[in-house]
């Protein structure tokens, strides 16, 4: 579903991602791991067509991100963690509807879909209130609803649980499992090992823009003779750093 082929991204000649290749199949949940500045956000931005690769190419559902960016965007839902990027002066409903319209949905579809998502994420109580007064958890729910209003086949999450309390983080995890059950393709970045362990079929580890590991967690545990993901991560990153 997502194909990243020998992609390099440079900012003013400084590479943020170097020669990265990876593939995410339909219905797969893949965790993108790495320390601060490893290139996770840059990779997700390139897949979502916001940035264009300096070298290499990315194909989403058969569409090249450079040649048919709008087709790619239609198939992707993206959520940025930390700041959820909602319009404070608009209501939750208006925020969701705005993106529904931008994705070309009919007004009726938007209404139905909003009600459905509100029920699912337990947002009915604040759907018509302005986002400005929302808690982080409430914002996160609205932001997720907004990013999947068009029922995308591919979902990208960038550090989705950063800054959330345990309840909200758990809600998010349940949601990922539901999306997976629906057959959606999910790529999300994180540096919380337990989260990755619980949700992902596969892990991709980046360090300083380079791919360090790409495979199942089982295989990773087997080669390192340990089930402590934190320890394994430190080993890999340490080795990468020593080069």
């Amino acid at each position: 579903m997502i194909l990243v082929e020998r992609v390099t991204k440079k900012f003013k000649k400084i590479p943020a991602v170097s020669d990265l290749s990876l593939e995410v199949g339909q219905g797969e949940v893949v965790g993108l791991l790495g320390e601060n500045g490893a290139g996770k956000t840059t990779t997700l931005r390139m897949i979502s067509t916001v940035l264009s690769p300096t070298e290499g190419r990315i194909v989403v559902d058969g569409m090249d991100t450079l040649q048919r960016p709008e087709e790619v965007r239609k198939r992707i839902g993206i959520l940025f963690g930390g700041e959820t990027g909602l319009y404070e002066k608009l209501t939750a409903r208006d925020n969701i509807a705005y993106f529904g319209r931008l994705y070309g949905l009919e007004e009726r579809t938007i209404r139905e879909r909003t009600e459905e998502l509100a029920k699912r994420f337990d947002m009915a109580g604040f759907l018509d209130r302005k986002v400005g007064g929302f808690s982080k958890g409430m914002r996160q729910k609205v932001a997720i609803a907004r990013s999947v209003v068009h029922d995308p086949a591919v979902i990208l999450f960038d550090e989705p649980t950063s800054g959330l309390d345990i309840t909200s983080a758990n809600m998010f995890r349940r949601l990922v499992q539901e999306f997976k059950a629906e057959g959606k393709t999910i790529l999300f970045s994180s540096h919380i090992m337990s989260e990755v362990e619980r949700l992902c079929d596969r892990a991709v580890i980046l360090h300083r823009g380079e791919l360090q590991y790409n495979g199942t967690l089982e295989a990773l545990f087997a080669t390192h003779g340990s089930r402590d993901l934190d320890e394994i991560f430190m080993n890999i990153v340490g080795a990468g750093g020593a080069r």
Binding site: V50, R73, K89, L102, G104
Partner: protein, 397 residues
């Protein structure tokens, strides 16, 4: 399916209308400030004009009954005693000092030119006006004395007045009003375009970038040009709305302004009722292009900033951009304005407004201004579109 720019535009306007700050800046402010400012200026002018013609204190040094009588005959003039008349003039306590020469009476007796000096302060308009009045009064007195002497010699005084020169004020009422307003009105209207656009441009670009909503917006399947168009339209609409309301508030103020008591209002020429619908439309048309140009430029500049604060700093100089052209033609009367001024950005608009307010709008000038303004608006849009395409501007580091 609805077009992307229209979806963006609708959302921006909806968001703007829920924002109290924006209401205040773009709508309430022009509606209140314009009339208040106009009335204030009118009052000031009325006051100043009245003041200049009232309570004119003149100090006299030396003595001569006829001179004293002639001066005190003018109702607005008062002769005052000052121990140091020149210092009083400097301090503005008197507006002119008339000095009668020591030999004055003897010289008059001997029919020799008798010396009289009028000291005044040209840097003080009131003193300048007083000087004119005193000079005129003494001239009349001088002619009177001459006439008496001629009569004694049995010569009719008219012999020495071969010409009868009279001055006629040819400027029409509206021209007087226009020249009084030709400075302040263009300034306020162009400024209202700027103040209408500024908060919107800041919020819609730098603000969205800072809050992280711009990136989300650009992951939606709309062309970035559509996004820009929607935003540009929002900024320009708010800019023009602000200018439109200012213009209407201004016209309404002049229509319904209570004329000050007495005759002084007539001398003020402060009614703009002569402005026709076409004149108002010409002003609005010119402002329309300015709104688009400022909207585009400000949006472009705002997209260079990473934060709301930064954008505010970058955009502040636009106020000067609006002011400089107005000051450039401040001292020019409309027939002195070079033709090329009608082709320069912003300057063309303020110059055209000046002309319209003066009551002479040349269709050729209107065409020049509209044409050149259209070109500048297009250039501004193209420039901003190019800035907006660069990905590094969109994704904050």
């Amino acid at each position: 399916m609805k077009r992307g720019w229209w979806i963006v535009f609708q959302k921006e306007i909806k968001e703007l209308l829920t924002d109290r700050k924006m209401w205040l800046g773009s709508i309430v402010l022009p509606l209140l400030v314009m009339p208040a400012l106009m009335l204030f200026i009118a009052k000031m002018q009325a006051g100043a004009a009245e003041d200049a013609r009232k309570n004119i204190n003149v100090a006299l040094v030396g003595h001569n009954a006829r001179v004293e009588q002639a001066i005190s005959k003018i109702p607005e003039m008062h002769l005052v005693e000052k121990s140091d008349p020149l210092q009083a003039l400097k301090d503005g306590d008197v507006r002119a000092v008339v000095t009668i020469g020591e030999q004055f009476d003897q010289q008059v007796q001997a029919q020799k030119p008798a010396g009289l000096t009028i000291a005044y302060d040209p840097s003080n308009q009131k003193s300048e006006a007083a000087h004119g009045l005193v000079q005129q009064t003494l001239q009349v007195l001088s002619q009177e004395v001459a006439a008496e002497r001629l009569t004694k010699l049995n010569v009719p005084p008219e012999t020495l007045l071969p010409f009868d020169v009279q001055s006629i004020d040819t400027s029409e009422e509206n021209q007087k009003a226009g020249s009084a307003l030709g400075f302040i009105v263009p300034l306020l209207l162009v400024l209202s375009c700027v103040t209408g656009a500024m908060p919107v441009a800041t919020d819609l670009m730098a603000g969205e970038k800072e809050r992280g909503t711009l990136e989300a917006l650009l992951t939606a399947p709309v062309n970035s040009r559509q996004v820009l168009t929607g935003k540009l339209l929002s900024v320009s609409v708010m800019s023009f709305l602000s200018a439109l309301l200012s213009t209407l508030a201004m016209v309404a103020t002049f229509r319904f302004m209570p004329s000050s008591e007495g005759d002084s209002s007539q001398d003020l020429h402060f009614s703009l009722s002569y402005l026709s619908a076409v004149d108002v439309l010409t002003i609005l048309g010119a402002l329309f292009f300015v709104s688009i140009m400022f909207g585009a430029l400000m949006l472009g500049v705002s997209s260079l900033a990473k934060t709301y604060k930064e954008a505010q700093t970058y955009l502040a100089p636009f106020v000067f951009v609006a002011m400089v052209p107005v000051y450039a033609t401040m001292m020019m009367s409309i027939n002195e304005i070079p033709t090329q001024y009608f082709l320069l950005p912003v300057l063309n608009t303020t110059t055209l407004m000046k002309e319209v307010l003066y009551g002479v709008s040349d269709p050729a000038h209107v065409a020049m201004v509209f044409g050149s303004s259209l070109v500048f608006a297009i250039l501004a849009v193209v420039l901003t579109a190019n800035l907006f395409r660069r990905e590094s501007l969109i994704v904050k580091g």
